[in-house]
Amino acid sequence: MTLLHPRLARALGWTSLAALVVLAMFGLWGAPPDRVQSDAQRLMYLHVPSAWIAYLAFGVTALSSALYLWRRTRSPVWDRLAGASAELGVLFTALTLVLGSLWGRPVWGVWWAWDARLVTTAVLFFLYVGYLALRRVPSAVETRAKRSAIAALIAFVDVPIVHFSVNWWRTLHQQATVFTPSLNAHIHGVMAFTLWWGVLAFTLLYVYLLDKRYRLEALEEDRDARELAQAIDERVHGAGVAAPAERAGVGAGR
């Protein structure tokens, strides 16, 4: 009921922590201030990796959802993975938006702007918040899984839109620095290293958290199934004498 071997998971946890500490050292001190943005650049070492990991997380959700919907590969594993990854995606999208706002205030002078990149990212956030809400609706597992899977695939349509928004529209947000249309990165040296290190650190953290969140999803689903079986059993055979102390949180309070 885990994605990773427990020992690997622990090692990964410590490694990602170490990687994040190193990122902080480079991001806050090792990397030089930008020529134009000055030290505000240092927020980019968190904002950009956060955004990319959000894409990754939603990509995992979309792929898992597709694999669940396709009958030949249908399995509860994909549904649980989709749900787990989506929660992380929402977390990192929120982080992206807030860090972007903190960066925008000193550099653009505004906390927010209604440009295509920002709007589509905010839409992305709400799409997956809706997805998470959909998953919380009490349902039979298969029904919920199918329903969520479709919502996830629709929501994922926004991801390429977010990415290409800076090319398709005139935006306040700058053009892509790394994944430019000609794939010619505009960032070099220590700054480039720090950025990629940030992506590495965030990826390690994402995988670690995904494994844990997946396990939680699996345990909770099993518990729901058990409680359902018990409830049906009671209905069929009648409530037992001297029922044990209140079964706490029947399906609710997740």
Binding site: V123, V137, E142, K146, I150
Partner: protein, 154 residues
């Protein structure tokens, strides 16, 4: 809630979904009906706008095509999410929460297309019409693919 939500939902949901829509063709008819209703409403509103606001029409073609594409996109997503949320007790609250982020780009695009077609330069409207057309095709396509799994017996 004192009752057991997991258990009662397990019983209620599949039944509700079955009774709500029996087949794909019915769903398609529903989507078409929604589209027609929307188009009728839009025609009325357009007439109202023209009469009340004395607009100078820069481009009729982008306006009509954009409106058509936006309508198809709205009808497709509205029907899809309607089926998705069918039979759920929380449908009234959940449906708007789910639908609004999906529909927001369509509404934004349609607004821009109308802006350009009415008082602006009609050439500016075409990129937005293209975007609306892409959404229309995409959501209709996803809808057609999704209705199978959604409506099949669990």
């Amino acid at each position: 809630m004192i009752e057991r939500p997991v258990e009662s939902a397990h019983v209620a949901a599949p039944q509700a979904l079955e009774t709500a829509l029996e087949s794909r063709s019915e769903t398609r008819r529903l989507a078409a009906a929604v589209a027609v209703e929307l188009l009728a409403l839009e025609a009325l509103l357009a007439a109202g706008v023209v009469v009340l606001f004395n607009v100078a029409l820069a481009g009729l073609a982008p306006l009509l095509l954009g409106t058509l594409a936006a309508t198809v996109g709205l009808a497709a997503t509205g029907t899809l999410y309607g089926v998705l949320a069918a039979g759920l007790r929380v449908r009234e609250t959940l449906l708007p929460v789910l639908l609004l982020p999906v529909v927001a780009p369509v509404l934004l695009g349609a607004t821009r297309a109308w802006e350009a077609s009415i008082n602006g330069v009609s050439g500016d409207a075409w990129p937005w019409v293209a975007l609306l057309a892409i959404f229309a095709v995409l959501f209709t396509g996803i809808g057609m693919l999704a209705f199978g799994p959604l409506l099949e017996e669990s």
